[in-house]
Each structure stands twice: as structure tokens, then as C-alpha cells.
Symmetry: C2
Subunit: 239 residues, 2 copies
């Protein structure tokens, strides 16, 4: 993570040096993000970022202690963006089925426009890089948007899940259960939400990584079909 000093100074830069540090840190992050979008996480090189900024490669280490630390900063940035995309696509005034589809499409659009960032979030872990445990506040915004839609539908009496196998409560983490039980979800509803989230991320990944290349002809149409399918499975009637 960024050093304590840095996050501290972010809020109140007092000296010229601190302002310069914040500025340069931001520039490094911007350049890194640009390069991430071009060559992906494993192609991202500290030396290349340094070259772009006209500084020595060793100087970068004054700002990010390692390549992993830089990746983590990009990870947080990406989680925030995909959370924004999900929440921004949600119109709480619309009907549940429309909200569900809108959020799915919003997440897909962000992912298509930021495929390397998507890979950093949900793809194969970058070898040698152990992603830190991020807070639900950061990583959970996207899945929680789906939960919120479902909860609203349930509150409105519009939830009508089809018959499905029951899920053993012990299969799911207690934290997860209490989190969603706080939204009045049952174990099975929780399990179905996990599957929906898994489905959303999975089908985008398949489209992005080309595994659906000779399988689907119209990826957008197949994605919408998938979204409606997941909505129906979670009890949100497709209007």
C-alpha cells in the first residue's frame, strides 16, 4: 500500500516537497494506468513508466516500493471504477428487471472498455503478485448493487424465484450470510446472488478472453440473454 506519510499528506500538503510528491505520484499512476490499458498487468513495466516520465527507473521506487505496490494501487482504482459503473447504471426508480439488465450492461461496458483492468480484477492472478485483501467497501460495491436490486424487488413483493436446488448453509461464509441476511435474504437467495455475480463476471471474461469466439455470434445479444437468465434465476421476472 501507499505509505502512511503519503496518504496523510494527501489531505493537507504543507510543503512544496509534499505537493511535488503527490503530483508525481499521481503522474506515475496515470502513466501506469495508461500502460496497463495497453499491455496488461504482466506487461506493465516500472522501467517503461519511468521512461515515459523521463526519470530514472530507480527513482520510481521512492514512490512505490515495488511493482506489486503499483499494481495494488491500480487494483483499487479499478475496483472503484467498476463499482461506479455498476452503481451509476442503476436507476432505483426503474423496475427490477430493467435495473438488473442496466447494471449488467454497465459492468460489461466498463469491462469491454477496460479489458486489462478487468483481467487485473477477475482474471488469473499475476504470478508473484499476491493481491491484498480489499475491503467490502471497495471490492463489494458491484455485487452489492445486484443484491440491492434484488432486495428492493423482494420488499416490493416482486421476487419470484423458480424452484431450484437448496444450498447447504455451511457452504457459505457466515460473514456473507449475516451480511445478506441483514438485507432479509435467505440462504438460498444468498447462494443465488453469489452465482449471479459469478455468472456476470464469468460471461464477460469469456467474451473478453475469446473463449466464446466460435460459440457466440452476437456477444451483446448473448450477454443480454445471460443477464435475463440470471435475473429469472434470482426471481426477478423478466418484463
Amino acid at each position: 500500500m501507499l505509505s502512511f506519510r503519503y496518504t496523510e499528506a494527501m489531505n493537507a500538503p504543507r510543503t512544496a516537497r509534499e505537493r511535488a510528491r503527490i503530483e508525481l505520484t499521481r503522474e506515475i499512476l496515470q502513466a501506469a494506468r495508461r500502460q496497463l490499458g495497453e499491455v496488461g498487468a504482466v506487461g506493465l513495466s516500472l522501467r517503461s513508466v519511468a521512461r515515459e516520465l523521463g526519470m530514472a527507473s530507480s527513482a520510481i521506487y521512492r514512490y512505490f516500493a515495488s511493482r506489486d505496490e503499483l499494481l495494488t494501487a491500480l487494483l483499487v482504482e479499478s475496483y472503484t471504477e467498476i463499482g461506479d459503473a455498476a452503481e451509476g447504471a442503476d436507476d432505483p426508480a426503474a423496475r427490477p428487471a430493467e435495473r438488473w439488465l442496466a447494471v449488467w450492461r454497465g459492468v460489461r461496458e466498463w469491462s469491454l472498455a477496460n479489458r486489462h483492468e478487468y483481467a487485473l480484477l477477475f482474471g488469473t492472478p499475476v504470478p508473484g503478485y499476491a493481491a491484498p485483501h480489499l475491503t467490502t467497501q471497495i471490492a463489494g460495491r458491484m455485487p452489492l448493487t445486484l443484491a440491492r436490486i434484488t432486495a428492493d424487488a423482494k420488499r416490493a413483493g416482486l421476487l419470484d424465484p423458480p424452484p431450484a436446488p437448496v444450498c447447504d448453509p455451511s457452504a457459505i461464509t457466515p460473514e456473507m450470510l449475516v451480511l445478506l441476511e441483514g438485507m432479509a435474504f435467505s440462504v438460498d437467495e444468498t447462494a443465488r446472488l453469489i452465482l449471479a455475480w459469478n455468472r456476470l463476471v464469468g460471461v464477460i471474461g469469456y467474451e473478453l478472453h475469446g473463449h466464446l469466439e466460435n460459440v457466440t455470434a452476437d456477444d451483446a445479444a448473448f450477454f443480454d440473454y445471460t443477464a435475463r437468465t440470471a435475473a429469472a434465476f434470482n426471481g426477478i421476472a423478466t418484463g
Copy 2:
């Protein structure tokens, strides 16, 4: 791909030189596979393979023209193994629901035991490495096993899919449609099979990459739940 000469000689090694070449090629592949299992695809290094075999790094290039070519060989090997795992887990005499679960579990077990190979097949593409288009014969064995089970169930009159959104036929590739229509599947049944295959691979990836870390408590149980869910969605009644 491997050179024509090599594949040619595989069947009829005539000279000592050719035998030695085949033998050494096999040893390189074995060492590479071992290292793949340890450090993953992007960590796999030709120089390290050469070191393990006690030869100069440049000598490897006599056998594999590039690192990508070596990766492709490992890709084919892995597809074959996961196809074996799927087909091997299938007992055509058993009931459809049991066959379905057995195949899912077989694929999961292979994946857990070969996580880096799984990542090579279904994970984020290795940057700079463009996976070749593999034949259905190689890459399609695993998903086709699921299709076969479903087809057998349908033939026996045991297929009973729940109501679900319909899929626009134009969303799916014509080749895919004719392939599965050859097994008497409708468009919707085909779409559901694609989703099932996607789900199987996706949920394993999530378990493998740690994205379900604080979500599921008993991964095997949640996986079985997922398998039963997918079976039901595809019309295979859970016994």
C-alpha cells in the same frame, strides 16, 4: 506447432538421430510441464527448462522455435487431459443427474490438481501469446461430454427444463447450432449448454483464483450446489 518433420518422425523413427530428437523433445515437454505446474505460464522460462536438462538455452530452440510454441504444446496436452478427466468421469450407464455431477466433479478435481494448466486453458491470456485456434476435437471434448449427457437424457425422455428466457438464435454461431442440432438440441437448449459449460469453468476459476475466498466456506459443497443448479437449469432433474 511442432514441425512437420517431427510429427512425421514420431510414427516411424528411423535413425538414431531421430530417436534422440523425439526423446529429447519429450524430455523438454516433461520438464516444461513440471515447471508450468510450479510457476505457471508466465513464469515458465525456456532458460530454466534448459538448465534443468543441463543444456544451453539456445539448444532448446532446435526443438521449439519459440516459447509460444512450447506453450502451445502444453496447451494441447492440457486440453487432452481435461477432456480425459471429463470423459473418464462419465459413466454412461448411470442416471443423468449422477453423470452430470460426476463429470463436473471430475473436471474440478483435475483443475484443482492442475491449477496452472487450468489457467493456461481458461484464464487470462498470456500476454504476447496468441493461442492458436484448436480443433473441436481437442478443445471441445469437455463441453461435449456435458452435451452428451443431456442428449442421452433427452432421448430417454428425462429432460425437463424449467421455464427460462428464450435465446435469440442469431446470438449463437451457426456452426455451434448445427453441431448441437445434430444432437437434436433446440436453440434454447444449446444456449443453456453454453451457459452450463461457462458456469463450470467459471466457478472453478473463482475457487482457484481466490475470488470466493471470503464468500464460500465449503468450496466443494458450493461447487456441488452449483453443479446441481446448472443441471436443473439444463433440464436434468436432480435425483
